[in-house]
Each structure stands twice: as C-alpha cells, then as structure tokens.
C-alpha cells in the first residue's frame, strides 16, 4: 500500500472532469445502485461529490466512503443519461485505483478479491474451477448445506452455469477459420476468459457467423485476458500488463478488425489507447490496436445485408442491451439490425432497458445481495415482454440473467447474439 500523499490526490488532475457535473441529478434515474439504495452517496452525482470532497481534503477515504464506491456497478448508464457530458468512467476507474493503493479492506474481503483475480482472468485456472462448480449443482438441492456456507460462496454456486464447458478444449475455436466464399475481411477473434470457459459455443458460433459473412477468422491460441476485470476493480497496473500481453498476441498480422463478442472486454480494449497513453513504448501500439477493435455486431452489421442465406426463426426476441455495449460503446442499433435480418424474428421492446442486470464484471460476486435484487428486477421486466428468447452480448449478463430466470421459473432462453445468428444459418 502506498502511503504517499492524500488518498484521493491522484484524482486531482481529473478535477476538470468533475467540474463538468452541474449536480442536476439526471443520472440518478438510471443508476442501479441509487434505484436500490435510494441514497445520494450511492449515485453518480453523489460519488462525484465525494471525489471532489476527497481531492479538496473535505472527505477522508473511510470504510463508509469506500463502500459507496464499491456499490457502483460501472454500468455507465449515467454517462448516457448525463446532459452535461460528464465522463464518469475515468473518474470511477481512478477512484478505484486510489482505493486499491490506499485502503485496506477487511481480511476476508481481501482474500476473496485476491482469489477472484488469481482465477477469473486465467482461462486455464478458471476451467479447473468450472468443473467442481458445475458439479456443485447437487448442492443446490440441499438447502441445509447451502445455508451453512458463507453468502458469497452461496452466490458463487448459484451463478455456476448448468453445463460445464466439456473437455479441456471442448469450447475452443479453431485457430483459423476460412471465409466462406470471397473474403471480405480478415479479423482476429478475442475469445475472452469467462466466454471461453463457460460459453465456448458462443465463440464457435461467432467464428461460424463471421466466416459465413466472408470473414477469415483467426483466434490466436495463446491469448490471455483483456484486463477488463482488473481495470474495473482498480487494479490498473495488472490491467496494463494484460493489455500489453494481448496487444503482443495480436501483433504481426494486418487485421481489418479485431473482433470481440463480450461487451465488457470490448469497451476495455477500445480504451487501451487511453490506458497506456503514458507508456512511451506502448502508447502508439495501444492506440493502433484500439482503433481496430470492433464488437462482433459492429463488424457483422457493416456486412449487411447478409450474404449467407438465413432460415426462418419464428421467435419473439427481446434484445437486452449489455451496459458495456450500449452505455460504454454506444452500440445499440447494430445488434437490433442484425436480429431484424433474421426472417421471422419479432423484436419486442423491454421495459427499463437502460438499467443494469446486476452482473457488472465481478459485482455479482463481491456485492451479491444488490446484484441479486437487480437480477430479479431485470428478469421480471424481461418476463413482462413474454419473449421466446432474450438475446444479449456479454457473458456476465448471460450468467446473471440465466441464474435469475431459472430461479423465477421462466423458460425463455437466454443466448448470445452470435448464437441466434448461427441458428439462422441454413447450412
């Protein structure tokens, strides 16, 4: 822990960003933590007030203050709602980094977080964990055993996916997938951590759909984590290292785009330029990398109308905007255009679409109660629309929504955009 300077001093250069906030309160209406807790300190406006107070030495970095930053899901719905154009993302990221440097969390909390960061960003370790996790579903049937476990472990079990990913390489995408027909793009595919382990079939569907639309897809075998989880938890040094490693993995080939199918990773990778701007050896490479990053829906919608024939899927589809796609990347129209390109699909509007489902990176692991309440609310809103399928673009959202849909007894499927598109391919 760094004890130099005041705890919030690293935020001082960001004061102009804070000054953009005119305290109008428009952000409160879409902030999930404000909706749940109903208190000013758990809103973006309140947090910015605390940050400014911290920089001006009017607020100390106490446990209470840290809690108010911890309740932020980082969904960035506030950036969408803000009429003054406040950029909240750099503010909360730097605040979290300052907390990691200056604040000592309770021991159990520290160990739990450390464990998460030793496992989640490493697909191979995660896969080792996935097997026991998948078998713990037996535990779900023994409420007495469950009740005896700590809350966090209980929630971890609740979130464990039903189906393990298969054998150690079951969900892997081939290193190269040739374009079908004339090649229109050369793309590198980032396969993610959670996505690769729990949703390997999503990566496979992604490669299939991309290839069907004329993309030559390369998925480097040895790629690591993009650093999103670390960055969103204030471990900015770790995040920078993950970023450099990933950039290196994709170096040396001329891509038209680097495609990602996980919204949280995409927003982080698009921000590499910013993340590494003070690292002279990497700043330029990072900028170049970021400029090529596309969400899969962006790449595919550039290639519309679809080249590959599509078959009829007579479905009512609700599209759930992943926060890091809609709010952080401003990608809203493209996935909808793609879904509308499937014959038979009816897009149904979803109420409270701008509110986070509660997954939010590791939020549902470190703040399980709030996350669960948001999950329940989200599912209730989804169910009102009576969809056959709910489509989204982020593995975290899929895990979270699947868990809560099951608990509430709903039968609609929750799938990734790439899965539904792959289903609609005729061959």
């Amino acid at each position: 822990m760094d004890t130099q300077g005041s705890a919030f001093s690293s935020l001082a250069p960001l004061e102009p960003l804070m000054d953009k906030c005119v305290h109008c309160g428009f952000c409160l209406s879409t902030c999930p933590s404000y909706l749940l807790n109903g208190q000013e300190m758990d809103s973006p406006r309140g947090r910015i007030y605390l940050m400014r107070g911290g920089v001006q030495d009017r607020v100390a970095m106490s446990g209470t203050v840290v809690e108010h930053f911890d309740t932020c899901l980082g969904c960035m719905a506030c950036e969408t709602a803000c009429p003054s154009g406040v950029r909240y993302a750099p503010l909360i990221e730097e605040t979290r980094a300052a907390i990691e440097r200056h604040h000592q969390r309770p021991l159990a909390d520290r160990l739990f977080r450390r464990a998460l960061f030793l496992i989640l960003p490493y697909p191979r370790r995660l896969r080792l964990l996935a097997w026991p996790l998948a078998t713990v579903h037996v535990l779900k049937r023994s409420p007495r055993v469950l009740a005896a476990l700590p809350a966090r472990i209980r929630h971890l079990i609740a979130l464990a996916p039903q189906r393990p990913a298969g054998g150690p390489t079951a969900g892997d995408v081939p290193e190269r997938t040739a374009a079908i027909g004339e090649r229109r793009r050369r793309v590198g595919l980032v396969t993610g951590c959670v996505q690769r382990v729990f949703y390997g079939h999503v990566n496979q569907a992604s490669a299939r759909v991309l290839a069907a639309e004329g993309c030559e897809v390369t998925a480097p075998r040895r790629q690591g984590c993009c650093g999103a989880l670390a960055l969103h938890a204030g471990r900015d040094e770790d995040a920078r290292q993950f970023a450099r490693d990933l950039i290196r993995t994709f170096d040396g080939e001329r891509w038209d785009s680097i495609v990602i199918n996980a919204a949280g990773c995409g927003s982080t990778m698009k921000g590499y330029g910013e993340l590494l701007k003070d690292d002279p050896a990497w700043a330029e490479r990072a900028r170049a990398f970021s400029s090529k990053v596309r969400d899969i829906s962006e790449t595919l919608s550039e290639l519309l109308p679809p080249r590959a024939p599509r078959r009829q899927l007579p479905l009512r589809v609700g599209y759930h905007d992943a926060c890091h796609l809609a709010h952080a990347q401003g990608v809203r129209a493209q996935p909808r255009r793609l879904l509308e390109s499937i014959p038979g699909v009816t897009l149904v509007p979803l109420a409270d679409a701008e509110i986070c489902c509660g997954s939010a990176g590791i939020f549902n692991l470190v703040e399980p109660e709030m996350a669960a309440e948001l999950g329940r609310r989200k599912i209730a809103r989804l169910a009102e629309a009576t969809p056959d399928v709910v489509v989204t673009s982020n593995p975290g959202c899929m895990l979270q929504m699947t868990t809560h849909a099951r608990t509430a007894g709903h039968t609609f499927r929750i799938v990734h955009l790439a899965e539904l598109l792959a289903e609609s391919l005729t061959s």
Binding site: C24, V59, V65
Partner: protein, 482 residues
C-alpha cells in the same frame, strides 16, 4: 447533534435509514442549486409514511428543524438543509400504490418520479400531464412542493390542477388527509395551500393524481427564426388567433448550440427556434396547424420541420429538456434564472437582457416557455475566476427585477426557496407577506418545517408584525432570531 436524539431517530426508521457519517451528510449539502450549501446533522431515509410521521414527531418534540427532500433536483434551494437539522429524504418512498384507469387517477408515494407515472399508465393510453424538464428524475413530492410546471402547462395547467388529494404529516406530527378522490370538494381548498408551499407546511407522504387520456393526434413543429423578436411575435400571433397550443417553447442560439452538443436534436442553424406542439382530435390539430404554419411563415420562419411520429417528437423534446444541464457543454458553470413576464412584454424584457449581457460581459442563454411568458435565462460564468459567481448572481437578480417591473413574477415554476426569498418584498407588500406568514404559522407555529425558505425575514409565530420586538422565547434563550 445530540446523540440521544440521533438514537431516537435511528430507532424509528428501518436499518440503514439513518445517516450520520460526515461524508454521507456532505453529499446532502445541496440540491441542484449548488451554490447554496448547508450540512445537515442527520439524514433519515424512511421507507413508510409511518416512519415519516415518527421522525417528524421526534423533531417536533425536540424542536429540531427538518427539511423534506425528494431526489434533490430543485433549482431554488428548496431542499437546502438547515445546518445541523434533519433532512427527511423521501427517495425510498417510491411505490406506485394504485392505478385506477377507469377513474383516471393514480395514487403514489412522494419519491416516485414524474416520468414513472406516465410510463406506468402509458400502456393504457394515458399520461400524467405536468412535465418539468427534469421529469425523468424529479419526484412527485417535490413537484407538489414547488407546484411544478413544464412545457405543457400552457394548455394543461400546473401540478395544482392535477393533484386530487394528499396524505401529509403536519409539522406537529399529525397525519392528515387533504382533498380526496373527487375533482372538487366542499370547504376551504386546503389542497391548494399545500401544493406550492415549498415544503414549509407539511410533508406529503401519499398523493392521488389525475391522469389524462392521450390525445388522438399530436403534431410538433420545429421552426427556425432570424431573431428572438420574430419568434416572439409568432407566439403572440398564434395565441392571438385563438389557438392554445399544448406547448410553445423558444430557445436562442446559445442554448441551441448547447443542446446540439449534448443530445443532437438536430435543430436548425438559427438565432431562435420555436417548438409548437398541437394536440387534440385530428381534425382540430390539422386546422390549427394550417394557422400556425401560416403565422410562422408570415414571421419569416427560416425553416420548418414537422414531427408526426413519436421518435421524431422525442428527439426534438430531448433537445429542449436537456437544455439546462447541457449548458455544462458550453460553459464551466451556469446560473438558471426563472421569471415570468406578460407575454406581450417578452420583446422588451429580452432587449433589456441583451443590454445587460453586453454590459456584464457574461453570456446569457435564453430558454422560454414562451406561451406563458416563463423565461429561463441561463447566465454563464466560470466559478474558478474570482468574483465571477457573485457577479453572475447579481446579473441573475437584475433580470428578476426586469420581470417584476414588467408586471410579471420572480418565479414561474422553480419556486422561491432559499434562492429568491430576498426578492419577495419586491413583489409583495408587507401586508401580503404577513398574510402568508399567518397561514404558515397556522400549520407550523414552531417554525420547524423547512425554515428559512420562501419568506424574506422569518418571523416567529405570535410575533406582531411591525417593528422588531424580542419574542418571549428569544428572551428565554430557547430560540434565536435568524
């Protein structure tokens, strides 16, 4: 704040309902009017009307002042805390309790946002008419306190015309029902006393509101003009032809630019835009539109754009409703003023504002509810330049004087609050103010309910109007004169 009192507060609210941590209290020191600040001694966040009542009772017994607060979006400092007093935050009282479509009414708790009501009833073809620009987040409790207006009040009236009844806790802790489900009740109209009282008479814990059926047709026209004067004349001409549009809004070049930077409503490149909305039966809207169109043309409209579908309409309104907060895009700080002038005096008052702008060296943007002469000048300043904030405040107050001199009012809809109480004597005589004060005393003899707001020189109840004489309680050292 006395620990025993805090313990008592903590005992009557649900766990997590009492905030006393210094950092927590710090975030409650202002509402959306940030230059007025005061740190409360405690914030309570009740989850039921009973808890509100229990808190008010405790405050009454201990003689501690309290301030009700919704989501803190007020622009007159109406929810500014009393230093070391209690803030009753109503954000957790946010349930819609009843939706009665056949009778066109809803019953809600005060923390429900204005827009939530419309969202809830829109599947039934209904909406809640008052629409302040902050409707996405402002609370119904706050709307009732401020008698909030909005763009559509020209035709549909203010909050007071849409509240049927309330349940409220009086400053002595009594729970009362005022008004009822019927449109008009016999006896004194106490409801109209509560609505617009800026939180100085009671804390509303439940409200029954009217909702309206959506009109058959809505048509929104966006017209650009060479000057504010021409646009203003167009407004007078439209209303002079016997048309009451659902809304008539005007924005000047600076606010157009700000809105464009914030939410891209794609407004025309013009010195002024008018947004005219017509609603009603299709035939009526068509007929009125022909008139509005010819009036705008006659006033030399440089562009005209018609929104016939919801998405297009929403885009235009987004530009208007984000205008205040969007000023943050063109200026480091801004001061929103709220005044009213008779519509016919608009050009004259605007000329004075332009002269003032040139004289003061501060940019002044203008957004109006032009139909009812409600001006919202936005004075741009930079708080990091020493003295500029005070200068902006002076400029803002001078504009208020113009409004009063033109026979208007010092507030259209944002309320007097803490911000404008000093100007009340410019608009009202001492007798007028004394009469209001007597009403206040009837509800709140101890002066605990949102004190320091609305009235220029808070008096103690029982004090005889006239030269100052020391009150017995002051002599006894129980209270002090503000």
């Amino acid at each position: 704040m006395d620990q025993r009192f805090l313990d008592e507060l903590g005992a009557v609210v649900a766990p997590g309902g009492l905030l006393t941590d210094a950092a927590d209290l710090f975030t409650y020191e202002s509402d959306a009017l940030v230059h007025l600040r005061a740190t409360p001694g405690a914030v309570v966040l009740p989850v039921s009307a009973d808890e509100v009542q229990a808190v008010v009772r405790l405050c009454h017994r201990a003689g501690v002042p309290f301030v009700a607060r919704g989501h803190g979006t007020g622009l007159s400092g109406g929810a500014l805390p009393v230093e070391d007093g209690v803030v009753i935050g109503l954000s957790r009282l946010n349930r819609i309790l009843d939706v009665d479509i056949p009778n066109l009414r809803v019953t809600v708790e005060p923390g429900v946002t204005n827009l939530e009501i419309t969202r809830r009833v829109s599947p039934f073809g209904c909406y809640y008419a008052p629409d302040p620009s902050s409707q996405i987040v402002c609370s119904i409790g706050g709307n009732i306190a401020e008698n909030s207006g909005g763009a559509h009040c020209l035709k549909y009236g203010f909050t007071v015309h849409h509240v049927l009844g309330v349940e409220a806790v009086l400053p002595n802790g009594d729970n009362v029902h005022i008004g009822g489900a019927a449109l008009d009740l016999p006896g004194l109209d106490l409801l109209s006393v509560i609505v617009g009282s800026e939180g100085t008479l009671a804390v509303v814990t439940k409200a029954t509101l009217r909702i309206l059926r959506r009109p058959e047709a809505v048509l929104t026209l966006l017209a650009g003009f060479e000057s504010i004067d021409l646009a203003g004349e167009a407004v007078s001409a439209i209303i002079g032809r016997g048309i009451v549009p659902a809304a008539v809004e005007m924005m000047d070049r600076l606010t157009i630019q700000a809105a464009e930077a914030a939410v891209q409503p794609r407004f025309p490149d013009a010195n002024a835009v008018l947004i005219v909305e017509l609603d009603g039966p299709q035939a009526e809207v068509d007929e009125q539109f022909a008139v509005v169109e010819s009036v705008c043309r006659a006033q030399g409209a440089t562009s005209m754009e018609i929104a016939r579908d919801q998405a297009h309409r929403e885009r235009i309104w987004r530009g208007r409703k984000a205008a205040f907060a969007a000023m943050g895009r063109v200026s480091p700080n801004y001061y929103v003023q709220d005044g009213v002038v008779p519509r016919t005096k608009l050009p004259e008052v605007l000329r004075r504002i332009r002269d003032l702008e040139a004289r003061s060296g501060l940019r002044i943007g203008n957004v109006f509810h032009a139909g009812d002469g409600n001006l919202h000048p936005l004075i741009c300043y930079d708080a990091s330049v020493p003295g500029q904030a005070e200068h902006a405040e002076k400029v803002a107050s001078e504009i208020l004087l113009y409004c009063i001199e033109a026979g208007g009012s010092l507030t259209g809809e944002h309320g007097v609050g803490a911000d404008k109480k000093a100007y009340m004597p410019k608009m009202f005589s001492t007798d007028d103010l004394d009469a209001m004060h007597l009403v206040r005393c009837a509800f709140d003899p101890a002066g605990l309910c949102n004190p320091g707001k609305v009235f220029p020189t808070p008096r103690l109840c029982g004090e005889v109007p006239g030269p100052y004489r020391q009150h017995p309680l002051e002599r006894a050292g129980v209270v002090e004169r503000f």
